[in-house]
Symmetry: C3
Subunit: 242 residues, 3 copies
């Protein structure tokens, strides 16, 4: 059985590895494939896009995803049945786009109070204490008990029309937007001068450039730096033009 | 047999993967779980904290850790027996906090001159040439020969009382300190103005904020950036207040 | 069978994991070892150096490498037979130094139009659609059909003598150069003042230092930052002295 794992734990810290260890203790035969732990911190929208883009190319299994700004609060912990797959993660919209791309949620379970949890459950590391153990037990072929109505799942809000939004932040801090590429050679975004170009190297190091990326989406980058850091934005934020 | 592996080799370079390859060549059946390779370079104290925090949640096995500013010098290379586990790494204090959290060192071995080494041993990559091979042979069930007195193990120095120290640097460059949260709204740290807040977004992008993190420790961050880079500090450094 | 995988996909995004998933679907028994996905974007020269440095220490298998600025263009996709190993990647010089270090190319195949490709092949993600599937089928013991003359393989251009070049960028943005260490205490590089020192901490945070690294090569770093970002350079670029 394959378990995939995507999170915002960071590619260098020990957190993702600890979750691997917890799953390996429960389901030693499971093979864990990381789908990246560099989602910008607490950026549910970027995590949801990456998960939905990845899963159609990955063998069916248990698909764990943790981007969880509401950890320790009232949000539910979920296990969703989608065809021959399980999706596991917080009830904040992270799992829904992937589930819909794969055919829709067949059954939904609230595993917040699962008997599989590691006790005592911490306030801040549910990947280790709830989601990882649930993924491990599902990988062993066990089944959760606490069914809920799929219509009650939290969804990401639609982005309002007529504005330019950051829909994703990539690993380099480039901002993927829902904008059309302007005809002008220069624009103002967030109060900063931005060159409209074809690629990074159209501007000097440290300068902002707006361009069409390899997927046909309009992206904002800093040559040699992070546009997300330079502008202090994350996915879902609105960029003011002009 | 599980082998876990934590280091400061960086999450993107080839070094950690080369050590995986060396271990796989010696112990093909061993399963290797990375516990993160993003320890700030040569930051033994942060590495020791991460290892001690991770191992209680990971199945017993061989636990390799390499944060090794003294590589190529006179420091010993260690294999420590701790209950049903082996800890492998340099004799600089990196392994001791994890060993103590797991019940203490039962037996200690100096593997600096181990016959398992890859010859010729390089001056700078003992993960590949000494520690990795030792971990691989231990994972096969072999045993080291060169016992030493556990009382001679190097320990990290205690941090002096009455100052504020950086006890850890996380993957975002946030500084975890041993400070108490001040009552003031603004303080000076390292000659810089710092806002005392609840979270990153209490300050503008690029500004410093002091806050209580999710584990109840007081941390210093730059919104959208790295406080470690901004202040040029690492774990163990002293921050001057006022 | 071991499959190793090196790329510039970034250590935090989902791309490398998607390729793992594709290979796991084709060759479930293959074990995949990452050799790092933090090659600076599109930096073929750094990727080639890392691959050549890593493979002699890794068990024989299928060795996938993707640093591919020409993706979607006319460059060929390659599978190279080198002793008991397969090297898979784009025909842009990335594989040749590793192949030569391991004894030279025995047979070369153009897999650009391989029947193993995932259809429809995207314009930008050949790791998922061509290279990953080819690696998976080779790991199953299958063989490609489209032999080409090894003499036609693209090679990296030699760096011209009499200049100082960036030969590699490491994970911290340090620049490894082909320079000799100057006798002066201070030099100018790329129009910036640089201290000639022994290590990072010889300069203040944010300042540039030139030093001899642990491998005996002369490197340029920013204390607490990235020299690559500060100077806007990548491997192969020329640094002007004076």
């Amino acid at each position: 059985m394959i378990v995939t794992f995507l999170s915002d734990y960071g590619p260098g810290d020990e957190y993702a590895g600890v979750v691997h260890g917890v799953i390996a203790g429960i389901a030693p035969e499971a093979r864990i494939i990381d789908l990246g732990h560099g989602v910008p911190p607490q950026d549910v929208r970027t995590g949801a896009r990456r998960l939905a883009r990845a899963l159609p190319f990955v063998p069916a299994g248990v698909h764990l995803a943790v981007v969880d700004p509401g950890v320790g609060g009232a949000r539910r912990a979920l296990a969703l049945r989608v065809r021959d797959r399980w999706l596991v993660g917080p009830d904040n919209g992270l799992l829904v786009p992937a589930a819909e791309r794969l055919g829709g949620v067949v059954q939904a379970f609230d595993v917040s109070g699962s008997p599989w949890r590691l006790e005592p459950v911490s306030a801040t590391f549910h990947g280790r204490d709830i989601f990882g153990p649930v993924a491990g037990h599902l990988a062993r072929g066990e089944r959760p008990a606490e069914a809920i109505d799929p219509a009650t799942l939290v969804r990401l809000p639609d982005l309002p029309a007529g504005k330019v939004h950051v829909v994703e932040v990539d690993g380099f801090g480039n901002l993927i937007t829902d904008a059309a590429l302007p005809d002008a050679r220069r624009v103002r975004i967030g109060g900063r001068h931005v060159v409209v170009g074809r690629t990074f190297s159209d501007v000097a190091a440290g300068e902002l450039v707006l361009y069409e990326d390899s997927a046909g989406e309009v992206a904002l980058a800093v040559n040699g730096g992070s546009a997300a850091a330079a502008l202090g934005v994350r996915a879902g934020d609105v960029l003011e033009f002009g």
